[in-house]
Amino acid sequence: MFNFLSKINPFYKFVFIIVSSTILTFLHFLWLNVAVFGICLLLLFLGAPSKQFLKALKFLIPVSILAFSLFMSGIHFGVDASSELGSVSFESTQNGLNMSTRVFAFASLGLLFALTTDSHALIKSMQKEAKLPRKFAYGMLCAVNLLPYMKQEYQHARLAFLVRGERIHFFSLKPIFSMLVHCFQWSETLSIAMFSKGFYEDGSI
């Protein structure tokens, strides 16, 4: 299996995905949506490791649910809104299909990019090609790298509340607040650690 997608310059890939998505936003053709979805899946199948392709299929499960709900909405509340509930016309079916396939098209474009691009490589190429300032580039990288720690921290915060006998529910905001306080502390510590390694906003690239 080839792995050519991850070898494409991430910045060019990024621009391509943004331009494609923007064009897709203004065009309403069923066949175009299906073609974009098909091409993206084919590219993922041929140009990415099979692990990533399977991951994409997994992500498409919730996307399918969303697409189905949009399909139903399109049928009943779309073009012919005056028709009675339960009656399905050709136009409304086409409208429903159009809306649901758009979801698949946008999702597949996003997956094509996300599953074949390394965040580090993307930021570095943005720095080179788009002259992204170092401060933003490394700030973004730090934030991306902290994501797994944030998840861990949220679990720690929930545990801290439980251990101290504080009641928290699944949607409780208290642990999120604790986690955010910690993240705020982290951002300071991390920026100091970066300065200690000679990081300088206007430094060399």
Binding site: H120, Y138, L141, C142, N145, P148, Y149, E153, H156, A157, L159, A160, F161, L162, V163, R164, G165, E166, K174, S178, V181, H182, Q185, W186, E188, T189, L190, S191, I192, A193, M194, F195, S196, K197, G198, F199, Y200, G203, S204, I205
Partner: protein
């Protein structure tokens, strides 16, 4: 002379009258390892940040004094001009990297000092080979132990070619063996080192000078305590295994103090998290003769408290007073508010934290944070207390006071299990020592 600081006075807030550091002088000899000790909260970490040029650039106000490296004022330089002279290694191994792996991190360091991209691979390979950590180069930091991360942090300093390294309790969360490995690496690098550490024994045979910031005796480690006989078994573990960690048979008696020792990653924290129902396990865990499988969380936490390894994970409130008041209110619901507040003040006084009542817990020093975390649990009435590394970052006096209070609590029936890397503490205060 390598690095020298003269007449340093520093404070965090412009409006406060008291300085954290007052007219402090220090000079480090070139190529020597100097240890800096002092009571927790006396300003050691703050001094380290000033010496490394990170304060007051990032926070605080330098009232007087200057830091010179071979005649060059450190604070007049930009970060990339400064690193060849002096840099720093931090306590928290998780928060000193902005990349996902060592390879990228080393490239980031080299980019900062203006090394062309073409020359980077050779320099990176040379650094990891010299420090014998080639196997860590491509691994994600997220999967590394604390000791491995600190070795990576040192490797970054190596490629920056810093002539002076300041370590701010860099071994706080790692085992003795990893710490000694890093000390050996430092000796190999032949640089000037200033290390803040309460655990002097780790540095035996490696350090040249020792400086106490507040005049306290850094070599004290003769702990002593009178331990009373323990009661019947309250907690037992048989054939316990969590993921790929297999534990020996363990039993903990009511009113006893047990110390768990072992290398980082050997499963000390995992054992505690298993006891509080956070991990799936095989084998048998019994609490008061009953299996712990299926025990409700509420029941479990009313009997078993824990102090986390990272004290910041313990905090729920926005100030020190409220932090303890939360625990007092939970365990003494029947008492009136005045009583609860008085009790909170008394507890804070016991741990020398009364003067920080209105501080955010996160603004306390590492040692003070650990004391506050322990206190937030001691304020409860659980029967079992698990303490993950409660003594690190504490000076002799604070360890003594804290452990004596725990001994007193144990006399009243509290079963205490703590992990530590400090052999002296384990020998003096534990009924039994379990080595994993």
């Amino acid at each position: 002379m390598s690095l020298s600081a003269t007449n340093i006075s520093f404070k965090y807030f412009k409006d406060t009258n008291t300085n954290i550091i007052q007219h402090f002088n220090l000079s480090l000899e070139k190529g020597k390892i100097t240890l800096l000790t002092g009571k927790s909260g006396c300003g050691k970490s703050t001094l380290a940040y000033i010496l490394a040029g990170l304060y007051p650039e990032n926070t605080g106000f330098l009232e007087s004094g200057e830091v010179l490296f071979e005649g060059q004022n450190i604070h007049a330089l930009t970060p990339n001009e400064r690193v060849p002279y002096v840099t720093m290694m931090f306590q928290n191994p998780d928060l000193q990297f902005c990349m996902t792996n060592l390879n990228h991190e080393l490239a980031f360091c080299l980019e900062n000092i203006g090394v062309p991209e073409a020359k980077m691979p050779a320099l990176i390979q040379n650094a990891v080979r010299c420090l014998d950590i080639e196997h860590l180069l491509g691994r994600s930091f997220y999967t590394m132990s604390g000791g491995e991360k600190q070795k990576c942090a040192l490797c970054c300093i190596f490629v920056l070619r810093s002539q002076c390294i300041i370590l701010d309790e860099a071994f706080a969360n790692i085992d003795g063996e990893s710490a000694r490995d890093i000390i050996a690496m430092l000796q190999k690098m032949n640089v000037t080192v200033l290390a803040i550490d309460h655990n002097i024994s780790l540095w035996d045979g490696a350090y040249d000078n020792i400086i106490s910031m507040d005049g306290s005796d850094a070599n004290k480690n003769a702990f002593s305590a009178h331990l009373h006989p323990a009661g019947e078994d309250i907690l037992t573990a048989e054939h316990l295994s969590v993921r790929d960690i297999h534990y020996p048979k363990m039993s903990f008696q009511k009113g006893s103090i047990s110390a768990i020792l072992g290398k980082s990653g050997c499963g000390k924290t995992t054992f505690f998290h298993t006891l509080i129902g956070q991990n799936k396990y095989k084998g048998k865990l019994t609490l008061k003769g009953q299996t712990m499988k299926g025990l409700r969380k509420k029941t479990l936490f009313s009997q078993c408290g824990i102090v986390f390894q990272n004290p910041a994970n313990q905090f729920l409130a926005l100030n020190v007073f409220d932090e303890i008041l939360v625990s007092v209110k939970r365990w003494h619901k029947e008492k009136d508010e005045d009583w609860q507040k008085e009790k909170t003040l008394a507890l804070l006084d016991l741990f020398q934290l009364k003067k920080y009542l209105h501080y955010s817990p996160y603004l306390l020093s590492q040692g003070q944070q650990r004391r506050l975390a322990v206190l937030s649990m001691i304020a409860g009435e659980q029967e079992i207390l698990l303490l993950d590394e409660p003594t690190y970052g504490q000076d002799f006096e604070n360890i003594s006071n804290m452990m004596k209070l725990l001994v007193e609590k144990a006399q009243h029936g509290l079963t205490i299990i703590f992990t530590t890397h400090n052999e002296h503490v384990a020998q003096a205060f534990a009924h039994q020592i379990i080595r994993l």
